[in-house]
Amino acid sequence: MTAALLDRVATSAERLRSHGTRLSPSLAAAAFVLVVVGTNLPWATFSGFPGLMSLALYPAGSRIYVLALAPALALVAVRFSRRRQAGLAATLALLAVVVQTIIAIARDGGGLVNVSVGAWVTLLGALLGVAAFVALPDDGAPLPRSWPVLPALVEALAVVFAVAASLALLVYALDVEAPSQFVGFLLALGGGLVALNRLGLFEWLGALYARRQALTLVLMAAAAVTFPFTQGGSSYWLRVAANVGVFAAAAIGLNVVVGLAGLLDLGYIAFFGVGAYVAALYGNAGLGPSRGHLPFLAVIVLGALVSGLVGVLIGAPTLRLRGDYLAIVTLGFGEIFHTLVNTYDAYTGGPNGLSNIPDLRQGSFDFGLPHTVFGVELAGFANYYYLELVLVALVMFVFARLNASRIGRAWVAIREDELAASAMGINTVSYKLLAFGIGATLAGASGTVQAHVATQVSPDSFVFLQSVFLLAAVVLGGMGTVPGAVVGAAILIAVPEKLRAFSDYRLLLFGLLLVILMRFRPEGMIPSRRRQREFHDADGADALSAPPGSAVA
């Protein structure tokens, strides 16, 4: 009975599939029309719902996300494998955004009667869109395994564009106020990313980056330097960017520890905190007992050195032990640091921290004041932004040199097999300590700047959660690469900020995001060549490492 029923379902699905190629384009076209029309009609009967949902011919709010996903319907017309998966991801996300928005409108307005015609039309369109891809047979030419090589400049620009676009998306996400709209944004973004991933976009970008690394970095630097000139004297985005810079520098430092040497440091934010407190106590704030007013450059160096020293003191006894112990000890150190600064309020201001840290001053140059360069006025935050750029560039340089050096090779060996590394004559304890110390030093340096950017330091900025976020930035962005850490740091700033609206579920959502990413892209968004090899066994060997002409069996 059931078997017969299943049989019939299977055969009709089969039949639908075989008609699919014919049916799908019409379904998709109808879906597209309905979605475009629907998003231009009002979705709510009442005003006040975020995104001006009661207005016609004004697609804003979640309606924009729906429209942004609609072009994916065109995938039915392209014959290659995975178009079905990509199309399904996009249309399902579209459907999810519509349903989620309808629920939100009904909840705010007091029932489904308050949902207007536009929403229903779009819902119908979304359903037809999903049907179009469900009906699509899973065939077509496979995606190319290696993409054509384009001119260097074009390839580098593509990567720069991708990084800039992800930063812009993040910044936009920061700006979305209404929780319901933000959820819609996340759904649309998630679906869009999965679809693009299925189409091989990220693979392609990763390959481009690996091929055009130097040029990409130069272009990124150029884009970064010009950015303040586009801000018309406003400091808003520059403040965001300076914050991203601070954490990017710290994340790259953590990347040395975790990504290169493979050591798990769960208290990394404490080293950052050491730098911040050094700046507050001995910098021009003069908040310390000595009422010191060290010049800024001296403070950066002092913060870095003190932090590095603390790192070595903690690492030396621990790094002889197995890796797990280091994680536990660093976790403990993070807590001790937090408790210490909380308790010794004579120096640290206790739980209130130290506030009113003045703007940086180096000689007669005041970082808080706007300056005019080439006839363009740059807001005060541009100074911090540029300082951060220099710091990030410096840290990147250190990172790159280490990675390519003898030391870098030793770290890789230690990461893969510590006993074997030692049998090769690598002094494993020293190299681990070196990585740990360098990481702490870089964190300390960026911490000193952070104290001035934030104008205050307090114990609650240096808690375990922050270490986890930094670690997540490294893992998200891609272990062992620099742009990865920058994108990761931007996410680090944006996500917790945004998830405040769901404070009860904040960590849950963050965890989910991590799990999803690790499931679909374990090597991170912009992985290093080596990482990619580590995560993709089968294709890694022949695709990446075989030089032309070698006989790989």
Binding site: R409, A413, E416, S422, M424, I426, A541, S545, S550, V552
Partner: protein
């Protein structure tokens, strides 16, 4: 004076003594084998010699100088190479990168030439030089482990059960390699459970049982020894 002299060596894991005072000698140019059943203490001995474990008591002299207080990387730098049990190649590095790491203790010169030499000795590694080492077969991984150990240009090569888990053909190939190395004058300390093949090659053999040397002799002598035949060559 022997190249390697071990005097009354004792090694413990916590409170448990695994090596209860063993002495042995390796002459320059000789192949010396250490045989014994599982758990006899062979691996523990090699790891102590290469500085991965610290002895509780006893002395290790290499070329007349004490090794037992040195760290692993210092011992490699003095010319003792260790191809550990279970091969322990770096699985995610390419074959070539593995070999280059074998030369880590050396400074710069002539490394490419030595890599080429290893490839000449093991043509199968050459064919797979750009492949991830983890994708090699067991026998190929063992070749790589030996090749990697040779890259440090050792004066003493220590091999821990190179035939472990290999097919009969591969075992033959590995022992042929050891024989070739011996013919070329390499000093080798060979740990094996495959007693007959090891003793057939060895100038001297030591039989280890629960942390003690219970029998010593030349390879041919031990091969014909009645006790050895019973216990290790599966005859009764």
């Amino acid at each position: 004076m022997s190249l390697l002299e071990v005097r009354d060596l004792r090694v413990a894991y916590g409170a448990i003594e695994a090596i209860k005072g063993i002495s042995l000698d390796v002459e320059e140019g000789q192949v010396v084998t250490l045989i014994g059943t599982n758990g006899a203490g062979k691996t523990t001995t090699l790891r102590t010699l290469s500085g991965l474990l610290r002895p509780v008591a006893g002395q290790v002299l290499f070329d007349g100088a004490r090794l037992d207080k040195l760290k692993a990387h210092e011992i490699v730098a003095r010319g003792v190479a260790h191809a550990p049990e279970g091969r322990r190649i770096f699985p995610l590095m390419t074959v070539e990168e593995n070999l280059e790491l074998g030369a880590y203790s050396r400074k710069g010169e002539a490394i490419a030439q030595d890599v080429a030499e290893v490839f000449e000795r093991f043509p199968r590694l050459h064919e797979r030089r750009a492949q991830k080492a983890g994708t090699l077969s067991g026998g190929e991984q063992q070749m790589l482990a030996i090749g990697r150990a040779l890259m440090s240009r050792p004066r003493l090569l220590m091999l821990d059960e190179p035939s472990m888990g290999l097919s009969p053909i591969m075992i033959q190939l590995i022992f042929d390699t050891v024989a070739e190395l011996k013919a070329a004058g390499t000093t080798i300390l060979l740990v094996e459970q495959n007693a007959s093949a090891a003793l057939a090659l060895a100038d001297t053999g030591y039989v280890l049982e629960t942390g003690r040397v219970v029998l010593t002799g030349t390879g041919p002598d031990l091969l014909t020894d009645e006790n050895v035949r019973k216990a290790y060559l599966g005859e009764d």
